[in-house]
């Protein structure tokens, strides 16, 4: 973009991380909390695409669904089944939240695959907020459902001595906090790595002249892989939310 003129000499003019830069849409001052950035734009587009599919496409409520309605129904039914399978009947209450998470991540991952678009889920800031929201929800649900007994999750009463129990309690507490961290790193890392790899291969194609045909085929293959990763990561995020929810609803397993 603006900096391209600066780094010119080498034929390998590859800047794989430039695509993750957040910059304001209007003007080019520093990014404030209120400035509309490309991240804002693509998150809004994500929400718009979801509304288009889940609200507008199904608004006909046709007996014989058209294409849009049946895809919406498939997504809905798929998530519903997943929630009921993993979190049980009690977990079905939290289905709207999980469907929202799943659709948001899925659509923002898929929209990020459009060339020159921006991937909000490749930023750890976005995925960490999603993961912390899940973490807080699950913890609150655990305390509301089980009261103080929820803390017994951290106290291994089968250990022989109190000193050992204290050490184990520290380990258990850390491992409880591992979940939001791994939850967010997994999604953000996957998306960022995939997009960076695509950009690196695109850079090779730019440098190789006629030989560019090889990296172009590689890009096609990686693009397919990224399509898979985008869907799987959304699925994994949603199913792990169900697993954590299930742990909070039935502690002591």
């Amino acid at each position: 973009m603006a900096g391209d003129a600066g780094h010119g000499d080498s034929p390998f003019n590859i800047h794989p991380m430039d695509q993750f830069e957040v910059h304001p849409l209007f003007g080019d001052g520093p990014v404030q909390w209120y400035s509309l950035t490309n991240a804002t734009l693509w998150m809004l587009l994500t929400v718009g695409a979801i509304s288009l599919l889940m609200v507008v496409a199904t608004s006909g409520r046709a007996l014989i669904p058209n294409r849009g309605q049946s895809s919406a129904e498939v997504l809905f039914g798929f998530t519903r089944k997943m929630v009921e399978d993993v979190a049980g009947k009690e977990g079905a209450k939290y289905f709207p939240y999980i469907l929202t998470l799943f659709l948001f991540i899925l659509f923002s991952n898929l929209l990020a695959l459009i060339p020159t678009s921006f991937a909000p889920t490749s930023h750890i800031a976005v995925t960490a907020v999603l993961a912390i929201a899940v973490f807080v929800t699950v913890t609150v649900v655990g305390f509301v459902k089980n009261g103080p007994h929820f803390l017994e999750l951290f106290w291994v009463s089968s250990a022989p001595t109190v000193a050992l129990r204290i050490v184990l309690a520290v380990i258990e507490v850390i491992s409880y906090f591992v979940r939001p961290v791994s939850h967010s790193i997994r999604l953000g890392g996957n998306m960022m790595a995939g997009h960076a790899v695509l950009k690196v291969f695109a850079g090779f194609a730019g440098a190789l002249g006629v030989g560019a045909i090889i990296p172009i085929f590689a890009i096609v293959a990686i693009y397919g892989l990224e399509l898979l990763v985008a869907c799987i990561q959304a699925y994994v995020f949603a199913i792990l939310t169900c697993v954590y929810l299930n742990d909070a609803l039935h502690p002591g397993h």
Binding site: R61, I171, E172, S175, V178, L240
Partner: protein
């Protein structure tokens, strides 16, 4: 009168759909999903291990910079974090094993052939009701 035959036909169609679904579902679903879940499972365990260590490391470093005792808590919590990571990973593995034995039990027992239709049945009636309710203004395709 007209409505009655309509809902009857709908019911017959619903039955035929669920029969067709149960006859072809098992093979197609598990094959594709298995590969995905295996791959994402490995990835999940790795991140849990790494996240445990990172968390222990940062807690230790934070405590050390708070008390000014640099290597002590760092070392201690690094080990604790590693233990926590392994703990989480093992729990994940346990969960998977439990799920797998459950799936195997379901697949082996011939009596559970009734399970998928029952499952589908639980999901479809509300939708059928929904369709019936809104069926009046549906497209006049039939």
């Amino acid at each position: 009168m007209e409505k009655d035959t309509f809902s009857e036909r709908l019911k017959a169609l619903e039955d035929r759909i669920s029969a067709a679904k149960t006859s072809r579902e098992p093979a197609s679903v598990t094959g594709a999903q298995d590969k995905f879940t295996k791959g994402s499972l490995a990835w999940r365990m790795v991140t849990e291990l790494v996240a445990g260590m990172l968390l222990g490391l940062s807690i230790g470093y934070g405590l050390d910079s708070l008390f000014g005792t640099l290597p002590v808590f760092l070392v201690l919590f690094c080990l604790l974090g590693f233990a926590a990571g392994v703990r989480t990973m093992i729990r994940t593995a346990e969960q998977v094993r439990k799920g797998e034995s459950e799936a195997a039990r379901l697949a082996n027992a011939p009596a559970t052939k009734a399970a998928p239709p029952e499952n589908g049945g639980a999901g479809t009636p509300p939708r059928a009701e929904d369709r019936k309710a809104t069926g009046a203004d549906g497209p006049g395709k039939d």
